[in-house]
């Protein structure tokens, strides 16, 4: 397996969202996130970009197992949401979010877009190790050229590296 970098964004001052654009083929794409911090304890979510604009319609489904050290693991399933859940992230000095996504069918206008997700983060003042493992689907047969990360409740992203690769 090889990787060709398509886009990258390193956040050094607070921003509302991070966009990774450049999906132009039917190949599988991979996204890495590392060292992501939010301005306050919150979820990091993501959406597809159509012609570089976010699709905010309620067509995002996902199902994942939430692994955590403070209590029993839980099942997280949702349908018709307006975005996908990625990581739970705290705002403490050492609390960051990290993860890997594989993107499928994003460029294909006649298929739904899918992604597998693996995340690991520390959140809350406890602090608690948490992570999601599962998958998501955008239930619209349309082409998307990228992905947007953002904090729920308009919480800014204050740090982190986001990179989009094409898998070759």
């Amino acid at each position: 397996m090889g990787l060709v970098q398509v886009a990258t964004n390193t956040v050094t001052s607070a921003v509302a969202q991070v966009d990774l654009v450049g999906i132009t083929t039917d190949d599988v794409y991979m996204v890495t996130i590392s060292g992501v911090k939010l301005a306050s304890d919150q979820d990091l979510n993501f959406r597809v970009l159509k012609s570089s604009s976010p699709d905010t319609t309620y067509n995002y489904d996902g199902a994942s197992k939430v692994l955590r050290t403070d209590t029993t693991f839980s099942n997280s399933g949702y349908v018709n949401n307006d975005s996908w859940f990625m990581d739970f992230i705290g705002n403490g000095v050492d609390e960051t979010g990290n993860g890997i996504l594989y993107l499928f069918n994003f460029n294909n206008s006649s298929e739904y877009s899918f992604a597998t997700q693996e995340g690991v983060a520390v959140d809350d003042s406890n602090p608690t190790l948490k992570g999601r493992t599962g998958g998501v689907v955008h239930t619209v047969a349309s082409a998307s050229n990228g992905i947007r990360f953002f904090g729920l409740s308009s919480v800014n992203i204050s740090a982190g590296s986001f990179t989009l690769y094409k898998v070759i």
């Binding site: 995340g119 520390v122 070759i168």
Partner: protein, 170 residues
């Protein structure tokens, strides 16, 4: 040239602990680790610890981990623990071994914890034993390497590890 760069390959036989030192550098923020145990002298979990920039294995009680265990021969289970001296696991190995794919995040960032993602598949005597896991070293310190060891103290019959860096070109 691929942005996935092979930076270390370690092969060992008949050994109870394997350390890969000075493999994490500031050249990469994310590393992919692929392990393959072709056999082990007695069934056990393959555990991990990180190694500091002085080459010492970090054995302090600063590891948290959580793992979902998926078994072909009995109910699925979960395992979570905090303030441990190691994280687990790179697989539940039997005589047929176990294999894993992992990612390590920000090991050389002295202002961040070191995070770990893993999935693995093994074949102990009961059947197929797979895991998906997460872990963190709760020390904001530079981590330069990784140590693998069987939980029961026995020896790897044969072990192969490849470590890749995920290059980011600014």
């Amino acid at each position: 040239m691929s942005n996935l760069r092979l930076i270390n390959e370690t092969t060992a036989t008949s050994i109870a602990s394997i350390s890969v030192t000075d493999v994490f550098t500031t050249d990469f923020n994310i590393y992919k680790i692929v392990t393959n145990q072709k056999g082990i002298s007695s069934e056990t979990s393959i555990e991990g610890r990180f190694i500091n920039t002085s080459g010492s294995i970090i054995t302090s009680s600063n590891y948290d981990y959580a793992r979902q265990m998926l078994k072909s021969f009995t109910s699925f289970g979960e395992d979570r623990s905090t303030n441990q001296t190691r994280f687990r696991s790179f697989g539940e190995a039997g005589t047929q071994g176990a294999s894993s794919v992992s990612y390590v995040f920000n090991p050389m960032d002295s202002s961040s914890y070191t995070f770990f993602l893993n999935q693995n598949s093994g074949s102990p005597s009961g059947g197929n034993f797979n895991m998906k896991g997460i872990a963190v070293l709760k020390l904001a310190t530079q981590v330069a390497g990784i140590n693998f060891f069987p939980d029961n103290g026995n020896a790897f019959t044969s072990f192969d590890c490849k470590i890749y860096g995920l290059r980011v070109d600014s």
